[in-house]
């Protein structure tokens, strides 16, 4: 009996020939990431108490993305602690205000196919787009990894997610993953690994695929993985990294089940306020007036996301009474948007460009919502109070849907503004 890709990676990291679902074992981590919020400020005192340093400074990536730019003295202190830690332990892969950690792990190719990567944040799953097993953990888990390079894992069952067909024009990976979450529920993939494959995945670029692995967190999964194919190899080659395709699951691997979807049947959808699995067609969302539109986060502010928004916003203006804010997922995304003219289009439409970082998505950075505000956002979560006041409301949608809603002043099917037959 063969193993799934996730099982193979865990077996290798645990020094075993074979692992099976529900085995619990200690594994060696190939690369780890921690950020300013859940990172050194939380675990450094304990690390000192243990009397040890960082197990391998070259395998630890640190990103300051939650409290940048510092909006108050408390935030500035958190960033200082992060920098002091980086200096003390000689961490070379440190990035402050350069982008969101999950975006940078992929952009800078800090993970490789077949690696076991553990990040101190729930959206660490994003990096599974490059064919590694990417797992998110909390601060004490990260303390253990930083001190010893090891952690414990329970081997998850793998669900195969096969997406046939191709996404129609105006329909995105965000619409696809929201559709899946809407059907399976926010605990539909609890403790599982989702392994993506099929014609539609083969046709997507790395950024779009990464929306799927990113939002595996919103379906309860331990990880989401896209086995490395020609697109992955080309993406890494652009970064001077030479790898073969794969590894992949064995032919006789045992999947718990297969979820099959037809991408060509997916339509633009939105998640209604407070529950990201309360998903409806954008065309059926009603016309509740919006006060805010937000293009941001690791989920929805990569270059391709900004370009999608620009497709809608070209030659249009944001509706009066709506504030459209754009927080690029990385400086590289902003630079590319400046070079291609996308940034100019967004600004001409009336967008307010914010600094790169996690921003308003976790309700920490700049641009948070006040009571009574209604926002549509390219981010991944909309639990009550997520982006600010518990009396605000957040709709989730694709960059097309957010841009189109910003123009209309309420949720609409964005294909109306893309000259696409609906």
């Amino acid at each position: 009996m063969g193993m799934t890709l996730a099982e193979k990676i865990i077996a290798r990291a645990g020094g075993r020939d074979v692992v099976r679902p529900d085995d619990v074992l200690w594994v060696e981590v190939d690369v780890a990431m921690t950020h300013d919020s859940s990172g050194p400020r939380r675990f450094w005192p304990s690390l000192r108490e243990l009397g040890v340093g960082v197990w391998n400074p070259e395998k630890l990536v640190i990103v300051a993305d939650h409290y940048v730019p510092a909006a108050d003295v408390g935030s500035a202190r958190i960033l200082q602690t992060t920098r002091e830690f980086v200096k003390e332990y000689g961490i070379t892969r440190f990035h402050e205000a350069e982008g969101i950690s999950h975006t940078l792990m992929v952009e800078k190719a800090y993970v490789r196919p077949g690696m076991l990567y553990v990040g101190g944040d729930s959206h660490s799953l994003t990096a599974g787009v490059l064919g590694c097993l990417a797992i998110g953990v909390g601060s004490t888990d990260m303390l253990g990894i930083v001190a010893t390079g090891r952690t414990w894992l329970r081997v998850p069952k793998t669900i195969r997610v096969l997406i046939d067909g191709g996404l129609p024009t105006g329909v995105t990976a965000k619409d696809l993953i929201l559709t899946i979450i809407g059907e399976q529920g926010m605990d539909g993939g609890l403790y599982r690994v989702l392994e993506f494959g099929g014609e539609a995945i083969a046709g997507m670029d790395i950024e779009e695929r990464s929306v799927l692995t990113n939002m595996c967190a919103e379906i309860g999964a331990k990880s989401g993985i896209v086995p490395a194919d020609a697109t992955t190899v080309a993406y890494l080659a652009d970064r001077d990294i030479d790898v073969p395709t794969g590894p992949v699951s064995d032919q006789d691997a045992v999947f718990e089940t297969t979820w099959g979807y037809d991408a060509s049947a997916v339509v633009p959808v939105v998640a209604r306020p407070h529950k990201h699995d309360d998903v409806v067609a954008a065309a059926d969302a009603g016309e509740a007036p919006l006060s805010r539109a937000y293009i941001g986060a690791c989920t929805g502010a990569k270059y391709g996301d900004l370009a999608m928004a620009a497709e809608v916003l070209a030659g249009r203006k944001v509706a009066p009474g709506v504030l459209l804010q754009v927080a690029p997922a990385s400086r590289a995304a902003l630079r590319q948007a400046m070079e291609s003219g996308v940034a100019q289009i967004l600004m001409d439409a009336g967008a307010h460009i914010l600094s790169t970082g996690c921003g308003a998505c976790p309700g920490i950075g700049t641009g948070v919502l006040g009571p009574g505000e209604v926002c549509i956002s390219t981010t991944s979560r909309n639990a009550r109070g997520r982006m600010g006041s518990p009396d605000s409301e957040v709709w989730l949608g694709s960059p097309y849907s957010v841009a189109a809603a910003a123009v209309a002043g309420h949720v609409v099917d964005p294909r109306e503004m893309l000259a696409v037959p609906v």
Binding site: G138, D187, G220
Partner: protein
């Protein structure tokens, strides 16, 4: 701790870490955060809860972010145990790592707010004192039991690293 007795505070499915500890409080230390615990779903909870009380949740308790302060704040507010039909996986890990037993009990939905529970955490037996009805929590793997016995991951690391040197 093997025997716990306390009053039940009942919550529904998919209780998110964003309502357990809203992002705006993450800047503070654990005692400040604990004053606002569950504020997003039940304002004033920190004042209402008494030491030793028990949280009972539905499916996917603790879904959302990796913030470990979510279980820590519940613990710091005086709650002695969390019983839920299922847990979100990072929240589950975080509970174990901070030495707070997560009791995964498929029949937790039958337990009612205000009832009193007698819990044997080792046997995984949860009894409603008012009715005498017992519920069973899923057994944790031995490797996880070791972490809990040490009092959490940090005490276990101390033992292991101390033992090596």
């Amino acid at each position: 701790m093997t025997i716990i007795e306390g009053k039940v505070w009942k919550f529904g499915d998919n209780v998110d870490t964003d309502v357990i500890v809203p992002g705006k409080y993450l800047i503070g230390d654990i005692d400040e955060i604990a004053e606002h615990v569950m504020e997003g779903i039940r304002p004033g909870f920190a004042e209402l809860v008494n030491k030793g009380d028990v949280l009972v949740g539905g499916k996917n308790f603790g879904t959302g972010s990796s913030r470990e302060v979510a279980p820590r704040a519940i613990q710091a507010a005086g709650v002695s145990a969390i019983v839920a039909e299922s847990f979100a996986r990072i929240f589950f890990r975080n509970c174990i790592n901070v030495g707070f037993v997560p009791l995964e009990c498929p029949t937790a939905g039958e337990i009612e707010e205000g009832q009193h529970l007698h819990i044997d955490t080792v046997a995984g037996e949860i009894t409603v004192i008012e009715t005498g009805i017992s519920h069973h929590a899923l057994k944790l793997p031995t490797e996880i039991g070791e972490i809990l016995e040490a009092g959490g991951l940090e005490p276990l690391l101390k033992l292991r690293i101390g033992g090596r040197t």
